[in-house]
């Protein structure tokens, strides 16, 4: 009821009126249309009743009828709070549940759930919002334990979305999983480590998004939300094959996740306004919705998908799922016509992304192991910033390319010989995925590195053993045109921390080299100090601001470790392990992410 966009358009040039009947009626008409389209394709839905809709007899009657006739679930949502009744009770124009104070969150939860129960005679088992912080969900579970599933975040909807919306859409929550997960009690973005850490719901992201396009650009355009695809103009002559391609790529994720795949469409009535929206007229908006639902319907008829309600999904998701089981996918470009791939991985210890366009460089790293407690909303230090921090984010923090001789955040490997150096970031390749007894393996096609007098072929392999909290990286020199030539391999990570493009204070980060002969540690002070140590055991960074420890180690004692402190015009730190090979050979290193405290 009264979605924000329809309200704004219907009232162009008029004073705000939450009770404007034309808006309410249009909203209901669109809801009816959406339900009809779903049911014509023999698809069941989860009807997310907004607080505002709980005061509308027609909306309530429709929900009851469709629940009884079609098996649709009647759920709740904390979207669509704003209505006259909410204004009267809470005297607030705030639309975002996650941005209220904790005191107000509790009152609103009690009010919304209580009203739902009074209307329908039962409490909902599903709910949602663009974002639901762990503190909010913990309260909901305490008071209303029957809730088992929620739309809890929106994937990578952070600073990128904020810029795209003219810096006026305060959804700042980068850093979570792109597919459903069981969250930690500590932070909604983090998958739970075990039963004690389990927040008690299954979380689903607000939209199923294009993992590559959204990481690089305005996320709203690129997901299984047909009208948003039109908004992004990923279409020609009113046709959007991109929608079907997205659905199919999500279906293909079963290859990486033990036969399981997930997709969803979540479209609020505001996206099918009779006035049109963005650059599309109503007929085009409606057609895109019908075509999308028809595809789901066709897939269902072919036995390729099963339609489930949110609560049904939660039960299916939890069945036989261990907490250590990761979510991963090898995503390919389906938008820009390249062969680019990214490998995304999320488990209770970390989320990371490897970019095959940059030789498998790690371009995003989030330390889930730290289980950072970051309440948001009025009265909290973070307020609107609900993102889960990164240690690497190569787009926000430069990555391989910088405008100066400083460094950007990325994890990669360099090969050098006689003063020449090549970073694998400049060696694009493609990858394949396999699984071996609990270890996920990403194997990259070899690349050729050319030095002045000879060349080598190098293959990279990434291995993540379930439950280990670390990544093993194998760099293999397969052959050399000069078997006598020495080549130095430098496996490194350049990192920082934060949630936005802007640097944070690195003061106090501890960089350490540990070997059997002793330990050398500095405390970050922007003094560009460097240290090296041979026969290294580990190279470490302790980032107190993130309660995280990063540890690199190798499979050989015949390696040299180093760290590099940055300076204010290059506010990064670098950890590295080096080995010299003659001809063929390989270096195995591990990167571990730990909670520091």
């Amino acid at each position: 009821m009264v979605p924000e966009y329809i309200q704004k358009e219907a009232e162009q040039g008029k004073k705000e009126d939450l009770n404007r009947s034309r808006v309410l009626q249009e909203s209901l008409d669109i809801f009816r249309t959406q339900q009809q389209v779903a049911h014509e394709n023999e698809l069941r839905t989860t009807i997310q009743m907004t607080y505002a809709s709980l005061f509308n007899e027609e909306a309530i009657a429709l929900a009851r009828e469709h629940h009884e006739k079609f098996g649709d679930e009647i759920g709740s949502t904390f979207l669509g709070l704003q209505c006259q009744q909410f204004r009267d009770k809470f005297q607030s124009k705030e639309l975002a549940i996650w941005l209220f104070s904790m005191e107000d969150k509790k009152k609103i939860v009690d009010e919304v759930m209580g009203k739902f129960q009074a209307v329908f005679g039962f409490y909902p088992t599903s709910t949602g919002s663009y974002y639901m912080d762990a503190e909010l969900v913990n309260y909901i579970k305490e008071k209303f334990p029957m809730v088992k599933v929620a739309v809890a975040t929106c994937w990578e909807e952070g600073p990128k979305a904020y810029w795209n919306a003219n810096n006026s859409w305060y959804t700042l929550f980068d850093g979570g999983p792109w597919n459903p997960w069981i969250p930690s009690k500590c932070n909604i973005h983090c998958p739970a480590s075990d039963e004690a850490d389990d927040i008690g719901i299954v979380a689903i992201p607000h939209l199923s998004r294009d993992l590559m396009a959204v990481f690089d650009g305005p996320g709203s355009y690129y997901g299984t939300h047909p009208q948003n695809i039109l908004r992004g103009m990923v279409c020609e002559d009113r046709q959007i094959p991109y929608f079907y391609n997205l659905v199919d790529q999500y279906r293909a994720m079963e290859k990486y996740n033990h036969g399981y795949a997930y997709n969803m469409m979540f479209v609020g009535p505001g996206w099918m306004s009779k006035n049109g929206r963005w650059e599309a007229d109503y007929a085009t908006l409606l057609k895109s919705y019908k075509d999308g639902m028809a595809y789901y319907g066709q897939l269902k008829k072919e036995g390729k998908v099963k339609d489930v309600t949110m609560s049904e999904f939660a039960d299916i998701f939890r069945k036989d799922r261990s907490y250590t089981r990761p979510e991963c996918t090898l995503w390919k470009d389906i938008l820009y016509g390249s062969k680019r791939q990214q490998f995304w991985y999320a488990d209770p210890w970390m989320r990371f992304c490897l970019d095959m366009n940059q030789g498998g460089a790690m371009i995003d790293l989030r330390p889930y192991a730290a289980k950072l407690v970051r309440p948001c909303g009025v009265g909290t230090p973070n307020l609107q910033n609900a993102s889960y921090p990164f240690l690497i984010q190569s787009l926000y923090r430069a990555g391989y390319f910088t405008h100066y001789a400083g460094e950007g955040a990325v994890k990669s490997c360099k090969f050098s010989h006689a003063g020449e150096e090549v970073d694998l970031c400049t060696c694009r390749t493609v990858a394949s995925f396999t699984e071996e007894a609990g270890t996920r393996v990403v194997t990259l096609e070899p690349v050729t590195i050319e030095f002045a007098d000879f060349s080598i072929r190098v293959q990279s392999i990434f291995r993540i053993t379930e439950g280990s909290g670390e990544i093993k990286i194998v760099r293999r020199v397969l052959d050399s045109t000069d078997p006598a030539a020495e080549v130095n391999i430098d496996e490194y990570i350049t990192a920082c921390y934060g949630t936005t493009e802007y640097p944070e204070d690195m003061t106090g980060i501890q960089l350490a080299l540990k070997s059997s002969s002793g330990e050398e540690t500095i405390s970050y002070a922007y003094q560009c100090r460097q240290r090296r140590k041979e026969k290294i055991n580990t190279v470490e960074a302790l980032i107190p601001q993130m309660d995280t420890r990063l540890i690199m180690h190798a499979n050989s004692a015949e390696v040299t470790g180093y760290f590099r402190e940055g300076f204010a015009f290059s506010p990064m730190f670098t950890l590295g392990i080096q080995k010299t090979l003659v001809g063929k050979g390989e270096l195995h290193t591990w990167l571990k992410v730990e909670k520091a405290s």
């Binding site: 810029w163 795209n164 919306a165 003219n166 650009g217 305005p218 709203s220 908004r231 103009m233 990923v234 279409c235 020609e236 046709q239 094959p241 991109y242 079907y244 391609n245 199919d248 790529q249 279906r251 293909a252 290859k255 963005w278 650059e279 390919k332 470009d333 389906i334 938008l335 820009y336 016509g337």
Partner: protein, 52 residues
Amino acid sequence: MREIDMDMLYDAAKDEYYCLRCSFTGNEQEVLRLNAQFREKYRDRTRRIVDF
């Protein structure tokens, strides 16, 4: 230039759309031309991909 979603205003007297944020001005034909140009970066926008 970042991609930013915002409405343009229309000056009916000049048949001209203009942006409050950047310096763009142009009629509907120009807007449609630029929209078509914007779409060109999506080289797979008309391609149905079935191989994953």
